[in-house]
Amino acid sequence: MKILVCISHVPDTTTKIQFEEDHSGLNKSGVTFVINPYCEYGLSKALDLRESGKSVQITVCCVGGPEVQPTLRKALAIGADDAVMINTQPHDPAYVAKQIAAYAEGKEFDLIFTGKESIDYNGGMVPGMIAEHLGWVCIPSATKLEMGEGESLEIHREIAGGTEVIEAQLPLVVSCQKGIAEWRIPNMRGIMAARKKPLSSVSPTEVAPYVNTVKYDYPPAKQDCQYFEVEQTDALVSALTDKGLI
């Protein structure tokens, strides 16, 4: 079985976000980049499937310039077999999806794992768009996946107020979140092995960006906190009631 895991390269979750002075983009100085946490669930799930005894070839891909190579190396250290950098800037989700679909087309992947969303852009649009380009089904926000007989899979996905249990056939795009697998930490052997694993760069497909970012800015500043003493808890309750909040 061939699995493609799409990885986005994002600022570490503890990063204090700062923009360039002209607001054109993120100020990357001192920022550590990591594998998007939701994508790590996808990678871990691919490894779980391999460890369950299936013969699985795991390719990771990322749309980005040479700066994403360390992130892809980390995915190799965790256990992916090979990595592909689609060498262009990830302008917008539609552009990224088009690039990934163009790469995956004809490569006979059975499964494409993505994260539920990336923590920088928070779109959650890429997986559905990849699936549409390929003419596949997409199961978003998956919390559980089990291989059944043949090409059939049982997948749980989160919906408003519950869980949907879906039976689907390969090939599929599945966007992953917590529950589907446990994160893994690369060990020394994995890190050593990763150095020798193939990491290739492919050229992007020709398509104009769908969305331009004009500028970035900070969210409006919050007002100061209004404090109440423990003994004044009822005053807090009154304040909330007066504001129509409770």
Partner: protein, 324 residues
């Protein structure tokens, strides 16, 4: 100019608040463009409920009742929405950012070769390349966008746009589904979470963390939530330790929410937690540590022992209810 098209999804025969938000958004957009708002309703929809859309500014509903019932919801819905968008020539398609909106929007975007503008909280400017603003970096930044195609698919952030009534005369037209039929994936079962209110849609949320000491202390949190009609949430470690169900976990790696009221009890306010809740409109923090980072983004705070404060809150609310 062509009209604005809303994808109005019904869940269990009714329109949720998110749909009414998206309808209000679509109506305001249509007003700005000098056109009308139309909607597409897919599948077996409740007719009485459809009439409600007229109250929220929809002047025409296209009803695609026969959309492939054997298809996994998002493919057939996307086909139906795209069909109506193409037939009406809509250049602006508006959807919710619920689980179903999020599943349908990407497919429609690709089918229409449109620019996706998602999680919007304010109107798009039709005069200048559909300029729009959205939150990015999990609430830590704002991004100003410009569409690069002449069709846009907008999703409206849940709890991101205020619902208002804009009554108009409405008519319904049945249209035949032209998409493909065939089985792709089937929903075998739906497992309902506890009867509580859905987190992403909740107006108010009561959330608690490791300061609670153990799962046995949660009844007071649940009581508080039920008294004020709120959903319950929790921090990641409390879900990881099995104190709370996973679907309650909010934050960067959990659910992102923006309720009107978020009450954080015994949660430190780690950056990953805040990433999921910082766009809440009113934040109340109860923590015994005055240095807890959560206070930095709080609107109301009490520095104190939650085991003292929460019972006092319950008492005060009950007293107000009796008096009021």
């Amino acid at each position: 100019m062509s009209n604005v098209l809303l994808f109005a999804e019904q869940s269990e025969g009714s329109f949720k608040k998110a749909v009414l938000e998206a309808a209000t958004y679509g109506y305001d957009m249509a007003q700005k463009m000098g056109v009308s708002l139309e909607a597409v309703v897919v599948g077996s929809a409740d007719d009485a409920e459809i009439q409600k859309l007229g109250t929220y500014g929809v002047s025409k509903v296209y009803k695609v009742s026969d959309a492939n019932p054997d298809s996994f919801i998002n493919s057939a819905y996307a086909a139906a929405v795209t069909q109506v968008a193409k037939d009406t020539g809509a250049k602006v398609v508006v959807m919710t950012e619920t689980y179903s909106g999020r599943a349908v929007a990407p497919r429609v975007t690709v089918k229409l070769d449109a620019s996706p503008l998602n999680s919007l909280v304010s109107l798009v400017d039709p005069a200048s390349h559909f300029d729009a603003a959205r939150m990015a970096f999990s609430g830590k930044g704002m991004q100003e966008l410009q569409a690069n195609r002449d069709t846009i698919v907008v999703t409206v952030k849940s709890n991101g746009y205020k619902v208002s009534e804009n009554p108009v005369a409405m008519n319904v037209e049945e249209v035949a589904y032209k998409g493909s039929f065939g089985v792709d994936a089937v929903v075998k079962e739906i497992i309902k979470a506890s009867d509580g209110i859905s987190l992403t849609e909740a107006e108010s949320v009561v959330s608690a963390g490791r300061g609670m000491k153990g799962p046995e202390n949660w009844p007071m949190i649940e009581e508080l939530a039920s008294l004020i009609g709120a959903a319950t949430a929790c921090s990641k470690p409390t879900a990881d330790m099995g104190w709370r169900p996973h679907h309650e976990h909010v934050g960067q790696t959990g659910i992102q929410i923006s309720p009107t009221l978020y009450i954080a009890i015994g949660i430190s306010g780690a950056i990953q937690h805040l990433a999921g809740v910082s766009s809440s409109k009113n934040i109340v923090v109860i923590n015994k540590d005055p240095e807890a980072p959560f206070f930095k983004i709080a609107d109301y705070g009490i520095v104190g022992d939650l085991f003292e404060v929460v019972p006092k809150m319950l008492e005060a609310i009950k007293k107000n209810r009796v008096a009021g």
